[in-house]
């Protein structure tokens, strides 16, 4: 595929990515939303983070992976506990990465 076609494809990707990001903010920010809608939206952060996170921890190739080599899952348990205790991004990310690195180093 030529670079010009690739560039035009990128412009198409820009349009379909930007418009859904922009429309709700520009259209809704100045409006007083009905109370049930606000309440529904208040659950979106917890829901969307869970929807992205849990499959990455529990699944491998769309099948459950509870094997000892699933470092992503086992590192998540202390990471959750630490995040809950100290409420720190940085500490949680450092602990999680450290545990995954250690798991790979010591157990292959």
């Amino acid at each position: 595929m030529g670079q010009e076609i690739i560039f035009l494809t990128i412009l198409g990707m820009l349009a379909v990515t930007y418009i859904p990001r922009m429309l709700p903010l520009v259209a809704l920010a100045s409006k007083r939303l009905p109370e049930p809608v606000i309440r529904w939206l208040s659950f979106v952060p917890v829901a969307v983070l869970s929807a992205m996170l849990f499959p990455s921890l529990l699944l491998k190739d769309a099948a459950f992976n509870f094997s000892s080599e699933n470092y992503f899952l086992w590192a998540a348990i202390p990471a959750f506990l630490l995040a809950w205790r100290i409420r720190s991004f940085f500490g949680t990310v450092a602990l999680g990465m450290g545990l995954v690195a250690a798991g790979r180093y010591f157990f292959g």
Partner: protein, 236 residues
């Protein structure tokens, strides 16, 4: 170094606060952006197109999927349609941020929307929930994050296939670990825990059913509806 996200450091200086809060995003973006750059180079994209996609589209998973599709010669329209579906979840994220930004001008909202990603959304919704609405911090976080993404894409492209393996350092766990921290910070009561577990379960079921590209947005809609429903029912 530990930056406490609950109390924040925004009192010191808006830009300093942005640097502290964006650091975990950058740690996650560098390896993923570099991986994207490597794959784009191998898929036959020019250096310019590789970096332009990070600047113009700026959506991690969609970019990785797109280069995989370019590599096998899928038609441009299919690539654009796939990008649309994969990024549709940002519609919900923007809608969820909107009620916090009533006082912003339309052009500021349009500019801010350009950089709504999974990671920036998670950081901003945590900040907004504790009342940190500083505009300088908002844009500081967004621009530093995107700059790190674009630079990493470029470095990945240049390194080509000789990029060192990032796995021994556990760097591929930076984003999942950050999502863990952000999820915990968003979880403020028992109903939130219930919604998190329920949505995770729905999302896993959808992936297993083969609904890969739709799983996040469908699970989010189902999960938020479940939460609002339980809350309404509990009040009666």
């Amino acid at each position: 170094m530990t930056s406490n996200v609950l109390t924040g450091d925004e009192a010191a200086s808006p830009m300093l606060s942005a640097f502290k809060q964006v650091a975990p995003i950058v740690m996650g973006y560098l390896p993923v952006g570099a991986a994207y750059g490597v794959l784009a180079q191998q898929a036959g994209l020019s250096m310019l197109n590789t970096v332009l996609m990070s600047i113009l589209v700026y959506a991690g998973s969609a970019q990785l999927i797109a280069v995989a599709l370019f590599a096998v010669g899928v038609s441009p329209l299919s690539i654009i349609a796939t990008t649309f579906v994969v990024n549709l979840r940002h519609l919900l994220m923007s809608a969820s941020l909107a009620p916090n930004l009533k006082t912003w001008k339309k052009w500021e909202l349009a500019l801010f929307a350009y950089q709504v990603t999974d990671e920036s959304f998670a950081v901003h919704s945590t900040r907004f929930a504790r009342g940190d609405l500083n505009k300088t911090t908002c844009f500081g976080i967004n621009y530093i994050a995107q700059a790190s993404w674009a630079v990493a894409s470029f470095a990945g492209f240049m390194a080509g296939s000789s990029i060192p393996d990032v796995e021994p350092l556990g760097i591929d766990y930076a984003l999942p670990a950050m999502f863990i921290a952000l999820l915990v910070m968003q979880t403020k009561n028992k109903l939130h825990i219930l919604v998190a577990g329920f949505t995770g379960f729905v999302s896993i079921a959808l992936v297993q059913a083969g609904a890969d590209q739709w799983s996040v947005i469908i699970a989010t809609v189902v999960g938020a509806t479940f939460g609002a429903g339980v809350e309404t029912w509990a009040r009666k």
